[in-house]
Every structure is written in structure tokens, then in C-alpha cells.
Subunit: 209 residues, 2 copies
């Protein structure tokens, strides 16, 4: 599928060429030209070096011209990502994304999908929960924890180490570890990082070990 890269530098980045071979690169959206035919080509928009109003103008222009826009940011942030997606971008990634990832985004957009970092997907979902709530907690198994386990889990949720938890609860580090092992098993998490996130209702990616 036809695609074009828009970057203020006018030079393709090495990773783009690694991903797609030679690339058509232009300095601004207007140089990309009109969209011909039914299939919406992909326009990769590097937004580094653009201020917010410029970024918005480019995005709206590219979307209005009929492109599927993949935004490439030098400093990705949630707010920027949401702003771009709300303006009609179909993908949001890092400007130095690996060639393989660029190719995957290309395939996804070519088939009518969306692409964004997994963390952003989960964040979007959690945001949507605030306005369209569902009554099911992230981990109903929290009820399965004993009272002592819950106390330990709450300390982990605050970022405490085993030593700190032992001091806070006046028990030995070994006891903390025993409770943690039981908690991990009951909640189906792998380690304390995932426990901390789960306790705060932050979704984690599913890892197949």
C-alpha cells in the first residue's frame, strides 16, 4: 500500500528504510498530495519539532485529505497520544520504533485496525471505565486473601520492600515472603511489581512464561 513520511527534516530515518526500503519523504503534509482511489494510504507523521497547533493542523489536514495517519512522537505521552487519536490518527508510536514494529503498524492500518502501545490501550480502557463503569473489580480474588496477606499486599501497593514491610508489621522478612508467595498464587500475579499494579487496579500485560 502506498505510504508517505512527513518529517520536518526532509530526510528518512534509517529505521524507516530498514522497515520499508526506500521511502517517500516530504517536509509537510501539503506536499503529500491528494489521495487517489478508494484505499486510504498511510501517512507517517513525525511530530517532533512541531508545536501543538502545528501538530493539530497537520493532523487535521492529513485526515481530511483521506490519509490514515500514524503519528510518530519523539517523547510519547499519554496526553499527546489521546490528543492525536482524538484528532483522527490511527496509530501512535515512537519515532524510533523498530522496523518490525513499523511493518506491523503498516499491516494493521492496511486492514482497518488501530495501533497504539499496549499501555495506552489499557489506559484508554481504564479511562472509559470512569464514564461507563462496570461493577466487576479487576481482581475479585482479593476476597480470598487473609487479613494478614492483605496487609502485606497493601504495603507492596505502596512500593515497600520486604524489609520495610517486615518493620512496618513487626514480623520477619521470612514471614513477609511466605505471605507474598501465597498472595501471588491466589491473585495469579508473578511478582511484586504486578502485585503492586493489581492492587492499584492497573492492568498489566499478560506474560506467558
Amino acid at each position: 500500500m502506498e505510504q508517505v513520511f512527513v518529517t520536518p527534516s526532509k530526510l528518512p530515518r534509517r529505521r524507516w528504510e530498514q522497515a520499508f526500503g526506500s521511502c517517500r519523504v516530504v517536509a509537510q503534509v501539503a506536499d503529500a498530495g491528494p489521495v487517489k482511489g478508494q484505499r486510504q494510504p498511510i501517512l507517517w507523521l513525525e511530530i517532533a519539532g512541531l508545536d501543538q497547533s502545528q501538530r493539530e493542523a497537520y493532523l487535521l489536514e492529513a485526515v481530511a485529505a483521506g490519509y490514515q495517519v500514524a503519528v510518530m512522537s519523539a517523547m510519547p505521552s499519554e496526553q499527546e497520544a489521546l490528543a492525536c487519536l482524538n484528532l483522527g490518527a490511527r496509530a501512535y508510536c515512537h519515532v524510533e520504533a523498530a522496523p518490525e514494529q513499523l511493518r506491523e503498524i503498516h499491516v494493521v492500518l492496511s486492514h482497518g485496525g488501530l495501533w497504539m502501545p499496549p499501555s495506552l490501550v489499557q489506559r484508554l480502557m481504564s479511562l472509559s471505565l470512569r464514564v461507563v463503569p462496570t461493577p466487576t473489580p479487576e481482581h475479585p480474588q482479593l476476597d480470598e486473601l487473609t487479613s494478614r496477606e492483605l496487609m502485606v499486599a497493601e504495603q507492596v501497593a505502596l512500593g515497600a520492600s520486604n524489609q520495610e514491610i517486615a518493620a512496618a508489621l513487626s514480623i520477619s522478612e521470612r514471614t513477609v515472603k511466605a505471605h507474598l508467595s501465597s498472595i501471588f498464587s491466589k491473585l495469579g500475579v508473578r511478582d511484586r511489581v504486578q502485585l503492586a499494579l493489581a492492587m492499584n487496579n492497573i492492568p498489566t500485560f499478560t506474560s506467558v512464561n
Copy 2:
């Protein structure tokens, strides 16, 4: 890519066969079997005939087993769609979607994307605008991170180990550790648990070491 259809009727729909030829169909998620290997197979979940708790249980079960879940609804609605996506579904479509659309969804999921009806995309975006937090993050120093450091930090925010981050970014574990040390120093956190919480804007207790 391997895929399986879950439908209470145990019979494949004609459109599924039109889309993919012969289909593997089972009556419930448990019959789909465990996920083997690194690639997450697709599980097409027909939710017609399931009540809400059944639907949620199936979805969580399939996601936990490592499947990419595409939900097929007989009467799609925004609330149902958001609920399904929040439980981890990667796509949401009509149970009578055209074969071509099913194939496109298949391709999108195979390449790490999301698929949902365009109207739902726009609805999600508008919902996100209502609750996206003010641009004052817990750690303004996030701007101090280099682009690669941010990518590593985002992976930690999802609960990933150093090994998993190395694989995800195609770098060595040693490099991940180097980035993490720099990130800890810049953000003033002690370890990856506190980093994960900070990235998700969860306050932690202050520890004096």
C-alpha cells in the same frame, strides 16, 4: 495463525467458513486448550446466549489463557463493547460480520492491533477527552527521560521483567538495566516497583534509605 471459535451452538457459522475455510469450533473456552508458544492465537468468542457474568468469566478465562480475544455480538452496543474491551478483548464486531471483515480483523490482531467499529473508536476518544488528567504528572521529570528510557519505563509500568523488556525492545538485558539505573536516578525512585507506580501516577510512601 492458529485460531479457535467459541460458540454455545457448537456449530460454525457459514460466514466463518467463508472467511477461513474449515474452522475449529468449541462450545466453551475451557475446550479451546492451552496456548502454546509465543504467538497468541485468536479466540473468536460468540457472546450471544451468554449472560453477563458468563460472558465476563469466558473473556477473563480466554485472556488469562493467553488468547487474543475477538468478541462477536449479536446485538452490539457501546456499553457492551467497552465492557468487553476493558476485560481484555482485542476486537469487537457483529456475529454476522462479512467474511472479508473477519479476515481483516484476523490480520489486525495477528499484527498486534485492535479492531473495533469506527463509531466506537470515535466514542472512545470522546470519552477519553472527558477524563484525561490535567497535564501535571506526578513526576514532571518524565520529560527528562530520553526516548529509549521512556520506552523501558513504559514496559516496567506494565509489570514487565528485564528479560521481557529486552525481548520487547530487541536489546540486551544489560542495556535494559543501564536504562533503568538512569531512570531511577532521574525520577528519584528506588526500584522498579516504585517506578511502575510512578508511571501510573500512584503515590508511594517516602522511604529513607
